[in-house]
C-alpha cells in the first residue's frame, strides 16, 4: 500500500504529464504483478464497491469516522461540505498513528484479504476492518484507502497516459495495450502478464478497437483548407458504437466500453448476414422505417435500459446503425489506410449487404464552407447536433486527437435561469460552491430545470462562492439553497420531455454561458418557453 499511496501522491501533486508518466512507469517497473494488476485496474477507473458488492456506504463511513474521531455527526457533515471530498475528509479527521506502520501490506492483500472478504457482511464486521485500517495507516495511505471505498480514484492520470507509460516501459505498441484494456477485465496477474505480450494473442480478436473521437471545432472552418479535402456528415445524436463481426462472433460495444449484446437484437440479426467479417464504427439511432429523420435521443433511452426488449418495444422504437467507418475487413486492420479508402470499402460492403438496418452515414457535399455553415444552422430541424468534419486522408487514430476529426455543433439553445441550489465541487474545486442548480418560473414558483458545473471562470466562481455563503437560506447536508436572486444564461443542446423530471422536461448538456448581472430574477424565463422547445 505504501508504494501505491506514493504513486497516488505523485500523480495528485504533479501537473506535468512527463512527470506523471515517469511516476507510473517507475511504479509498474518495480511492482509485483498482483499489485500491478490492481493498480492498473484502479487507475483505469475500477471501483471496489457497487454492483451488488457493499464494503462501506457513504453514510456508514460518515458515522464510523464520527465515532472513531469523536466528532459529532453535524460536524462531520460540516467538514465534508467544507472539504468537498469524502475520502479526504475521512483522512483529515484523524491524526496519524503514533507508531509508524511497520508492517506494509501489499495493495492486493488489502483488497483481496481485508476488503473483499467482508463485502456484504454485517456492519460490525465491515466497520472493524475499516476503522482498524484508519488507525494503522498514515495520512497518504489513509487517503488512498478511503478512495478505494468511496468510488473511483480520479487522480488525474488518463487511461491514455497510463497506456503510454506502459508502452514505453515494455517497448510494445500502445494501441495493443489500449485494445486489451477495453471492456471488462479482471485485475489478475494473468491479465497483467498477457497485457505485456508484444505479439497478437487469440483473445485480442474479441476486443474492439479504441474509438477515435472528434474535437470541438473552435476556429472558423475556412482555416481547415479546401472543403474538398474533407468528408462532411451530420453529427447524429445517438449512441456511438462499434459493431464486431469476426469469425461468427458478433459483439456490440459502446463508447463507454460496455458490451450491449442482447439489447439490440435487430442489429445483431443484420450483422449475421454481413457478407464479410468486419468491424464497423457507427451511430445507433432510433429510427422508424419510412421516416425522414430519426427519433429524438430520449426515445433511444427507452431501448438502452431494456436488456431484452419485447416485441412492442422493437416495433415502436426500432433502431438502425448509421455506419461511419470500417476499421477491419476480413481480419485486416484498416485503421492506417486513409478515410477515403475505408469509406469506399464500407460503401461497397453495405451495398452488397443491402439491409436497411445498416445505412451508410450520408456524405453532405456543400459547395463551400459558407454553404456548410448554412446546413449546420439548420441542424436542429433535422434532429442532428451539427456537422462532423473528417479529413479524407486521415487514419483512424485513438482517443481525442486534434487535427483530423472535428465536431462542428449547432449553436446552443439558451435560457435565462435563476440560481436555486449550490453544492461544493470536487478536486480542484473542493471547498468552493461550484455545482449549481437552476430554475425557471412555473406560475409564481421556480422549478428546477438544470444542473450545471461549468462555464464560469475562476474569478466568477470565487465571487459566486462568497455570494452563496452570504445568501444561504437552508442547508441540506452539502447542498445549500440560496435566495433566488441571481440570473444566469444557460446553453444546452436540446430539450426533451421527461416523466422522470419534476419539471416534465430534461435539458441535454446544460452549461453556463454567462452571468446575467443585468437581469433581476423576475425576468428569468418561464417553463412554457422550455416546453415549446421540447420534442
Amino acid at each position: 500500500m505504501r508504494r501505491f499511496a506514493a504513486l497516488y501522491t505523485a500523480l495528485d501533486r504533479s501537473t506535468a504529464t512527463l512527470d506523471k508518466r515517469a511516476a507510473i512507469a517507475a511504479y509498474f517497473r518495480d511492482t509485483n504483478p498482483r499489485d500491478a494488476a490492481w493498480a492498473l485496474w484502479l487507475l483505469a477507473g475500477g471501483k471496489l464497491s457497487g454492483a451488488g458488492r457493499k464494503i462501506a456506504g457513504n453514510a456508514e463511513l460518515r458515522a464510523w469516522i464520527g465515532d472513531a474521531s469523536g466528532t459529532p455527526d453535524w460536524l462531520v457533515d460540516e467538514s465534508y461540505a467544507h472539504v468537498g471530498d469524502l475520502a479526504e475528509t475521512l483522512a483529515l479527521l484523524l491524526d496519524d498513528p503514533a507508531q509508524p506502520d511497520s508492517e506494509d501490506l501489499d495493495l492486493a492483500d488489502w483488497i483481496e484479504q481485508r476488503l473483499l472478504p467482508v463485502a456484504n457482511t454485517d456492519e460490525a464486521t465491515r466497520r472493524a476492518v475499516i476503522v482498524g485500517a484508519w488507525r494503522q495507516l498514515p495520512f497518504d495511505q489513509r487517503l488512498v484507502f478511503n478512495k478505494l471505498l468511496t468510488g473511483a480514484l480520479r487522480v488525474g492520470a488518463s487511461q491514455r497516459l497510463v497506456q503510454q507509460a506502459l508502452a514505453g516501459l515494455w517497448g510494445i505498441d500502445m494501441a495493443l495495450i489500449a485494445q486489451r484494456m477495453l471492456g471488462d477485465w479482471s485485475p489478475t496477474p494473468a491479465f497483467f502478464d498477457r497485457l505485456r505480450v508484444a505479439e497478437a494473442l487469440p483473445g485480442d480478436r474479441a476486443q474492439p478497437y479504441p474509438f477515435f473521437l472528434a474535437s470541438p471545432l473552435e476556429a472558423e472552418p475556412v482555416t481547415l483548407g479546401a472543403i474538398e479535402d474533407w468528408l462532411l456528415e451530420w453529427k447524429w445524436d445517438g449512441i456511438r458504437l462499434q459493431l464486431i463481426r469476426r469469425a461468427g462472433e458478433i459483439a456490440l460495444w459502446s463508447r463507454g466500453e460496455e458490451r450491449l449484446d442482447g439489447r439490440f437484437p435487430e442489429l445483431e440479426a443484420a450483422a449475421a448476414t454481413l457478407p464479410q467479417a468486419a468491424v464497423i464504427d457507427g451511430e445507433l439511432l432510433a429510427w422508424r422505417a419510412g421516416e425522414p429523420a430519426p427519433l429524438p435521443f430520449s426515445a433511444l433511452q427507452t431501448r438502452i435500459q431494456r436488456r431484452k426488449p419485447g416485441a412492442k418495444t422493437l416495433a415502436d422504437t426500432p433502431v438502425r446503425l448509421l455506419a461511419y467507418d470500417l476499421l477491419e475487413l476480413d481480419g485486416v486492420d484498416l485503421r492506417e489506410t486513409p478515410l477515403a479508402e475505408r469509406r469506399a470499402r464500407l460503401a461497397a460492403l453495405l451495398d452488397a449487404h443491402s439491409d436497411a438496418r445498416f445505412m451508410l452515414s450520408p456524405r453532405i457535399e456543400p459547395a463551400d464552407w459558407a454553404a456548410a455553415a448554412a446546413l449546420r444552422d439548420d441542424a436542429r430541424a433535422r434532429n442532428v447536433e451539427g456537422l462532423m468534419l473528417k479529413r479524407l486522408a486521415s487514419a483512424y487514430q485513438s482517443g481525442r486527437r486534434r487535427g483530423d476529426w472535428w465536431k462542428w455543433k449547432v449553436s446552443p439553445l439558451t435560457i435565462d435561469a435563476v440560481l436555486l441550489y449550490a453544492q461544493a465541487g470536487h478536486g480542484r474545486r473542493s471547498t468552493l460552491y461550484t455545482d449549481y442548480s437552476f430554475g425557471v418560473w412555473d406560475g409564481d414558483a421556480l422549478v428546477t430545470v438544470a444542473k450545471a458545473y461549468s462555464g464560469l471562470d475562476d474569478t466568477e466562481i470565487a465571487e459566486l462562492d462568497r455570494w452563496i455563503r452570504a445568501h444561504t437560506t437552508e442547508r441540506f447536508g452539502p447542498v445549500r439553497s440560496v435566495q433566488p436572486l441571481l440570473v444566469f444564461e444557460l446553453g444546452f443542446e436540446a430539450v426533451n420531455r421527461s416523466a422522470r423530471h419534476k419539471s416534465g422536461i430534461a435539458v441535454r448538456f446544460p452549461r453556463i454561458l454567462r452571468w446575467r448581472r443585468d437581469k433581476p430574477a423576475s425576468e428569468a424565463d418561464r417553463i412554457e418557453t422550455l416546453r415549446a422547445l421540447a420534442r
Binding site: 501537473t15 460536524l75 472539504v83 479526504e88
Partner: protein, 340 residues
C-alpha cells in the same frame, strides 16, 4: 447576549472596551488602540495612540511608521486605561504578538488576537490566562484542520529543495512575509547550511527578527544576485503575491510551493496551482482551539473571525455560552482561503 457589564463590545470602529474607552485592533481611526500584533488586518494606520508589546514595537514601526505615538509594554506588565487594568501576554502567533487581558472590578476578559499553540522558535509561547470571557479567533475552526509537527514539515521542505536541485530547478516557497517566512527560516536553520534567497518584500521583516536575536538561516537577496543567475537548486522565499508576477521570470526552471495552514486541503493547493503545499500555520488548529478555550476556564466565549459557526456550535454543545463578533479581521493574505 450583550449585558451592561460587558467589558468588550463591537462598534463600527472595532472591538471596544467601554470602561476603558479604548479599542482593540480597530479597523477605523480611534484615539486609543491596543494592538495585538503587526499583521495588516490588526494594525492599521490612523490611530491616536498605539498600545503594544515591546517585542512587537519594531514591527509596528516598520509597518506603520516611526512617528506614531506608541506606548510599549513588557509581557505581563500592568497598565491602566480609564477604569480598565490591562496587561499583554504572549499569543505565540508571531514575534511580539499578544493577548489582551482586561480586568475591571475583578471581572477578567481576554482578547486572544491571533494565536497558536505549536512551538515556534521566533516568538514567546502562548500563555494560558484564566478569565471569565474569552474572545477567540477561529480561522481554522473545523476539525479537518490539525497541524503536523513543524520540524517534520521543515525536513520535507529541505527534501523538496533537494529534489528540485537534482532536477536543476529552483524551489520557490511562498510564505507570508511577516511571521511565517521568519519561522520557516528559523526551523530550517538547524537542518541545512545552504542560504535561502529572499524576495525584496521579505528583507525588512527578516532584519527585524534578526535584530531581536532570533537565529535564522542565512539569507541573500535575489536582487543582489548577478545578472543571468538562474538559481538552480536554490530555495527562494517569496510572498504569496509574487505568484504569477513578472518577478518569476528570474527563475526559468522552478517548482513552486506554498506554506500555509490552508494547504492541509488538496483543493486549496490545486487552486493555488502550486506543485507542493506545506502545512505550516501560525493559527490554532481545531484541537488547539478547543483545548485553549477549556484551559481559560471561561464560562463565556466569543468567536471573532474564520469558521466561527462550527466552533460556536461545538462550544454550545459543550455547555459554554458562546457568541460571535463580526469583525473585519482575516483579510490578511494568510487568513483567507487562497483563491488566486
Amino acid at each position: 447576549m450583550v449585558s451592561r457589564s460587558d467589558l468588550v463590545v463591537t462598534r463600527p470602529q472595532g472591538l471596544y472596551c467601554p470602561r476603558g474607552d479604548f479599542y482593540i485592533d480597530p479597523w477605523r481611526p480611534v484615539p486609543q488602540a491596543v494592538i495585538t500584533h503587526g499583521h495588516a488586518d490588526h494594525a492599521r494606520t490612523g490611530m491616536g495612540r498605539y498600545h503594544c508589546t515591546r517585542a512587537g514595537l519594531p514591527i509596528l514601526q516598520w509597518r506603520l511608521g516611526e512617528t506614531q505615538d506608541y506606548a510599549a509594554y513588557g509581557y505581563g506588565e500592568a497598565f491602566t486605561i480609564g477604569d480598565a487594568r490591562l496587561s499583554l501576554h504572549p499569543a505565540g502567533h508571531v514575534l511580539g504578538s499578544a493577548q489582551v487581558r482586561i480586568e475591571v472590578d475583578g471581572e477578567v476578559w481576554v482578547v486572544s488576537g491571533d494565536y497558536k499553540r505549536q512551538h515556534d522558535p521566533t516568538c514567546a509561547p502562548f500563555e494560558t490566562l484564566r478569565c471569565d470571557t474569552f474572545i477567540t479567533e477561529a480561522t481554522f475552526g473545523l476539525p479537518v484542520y490539525r497541524w503536523p509537527d513543524t520540524a517534520e514539515v521543515a525536513r520535507e521542505i529541505v527534501a523538496w529543495r533537494d529534489e528540485c536541485a537534482a532536477r536543476g530547478e529552483t524551489a520557490i516557497l511562498y510564505a507570508y512575509s511577516l511571521g511565517k517566512a521568519q519561522r520557516l527560516l528559523a526551523e530550517l536553520a538547524p537542518l541545512t547550511d545552504q542560504p535561502a534567497w529572499l524576495h525584496g518584500a521579505m528583507a525588512a521583516g527578516v532584519a527585524i527578527y534578526r535584530a531581536a536575536g532570533i537565529e535564522l538561516l542565512p539569507t541573500r537577496a535575489v536582487a543582489d544576485a548577478p545578472q543571468g543567475e538562474q538559481f538552480p537548486g536554490a530555495l527562494v522565499i517569496a510572498p504569496p503575491s509574487a505568484a504569477g508576477s513578472a518577478w518569476l521570470r528570474r527563475f526559468p526552471r522552478a517548482q513552486q510551493a506554498f506554506a500555509s495552514g490552508w494547504m492541509r486541503l488538496r483543493g486549496n493547493r490545486r487552486r493555488r496551482n502550486v506543485d507542493r503545499g506545506f502545512v505550516v500555520s501560525d493559527h490554532a488548529d481545531w484541537p488547539a482551539l478547543l483545548a485553549t478555550v477549556r484551559a481559560t476556564g471561561a464560562t463565556r466565549v466569543i468567536a471573532t473571525h474564520g469558521e466561527t459557526s462550527a466552533l460556536v456550535r461545538a462550544l454550545i454543545d459543550a455547555g459554554i455560552t458562546t457568541g460571535v463578533f463580526a469583525t473585519e479581521y482575516g483579510d490578511d493574505a494568510d487568513d483567507r482561503v487562497p483563491s488566486s
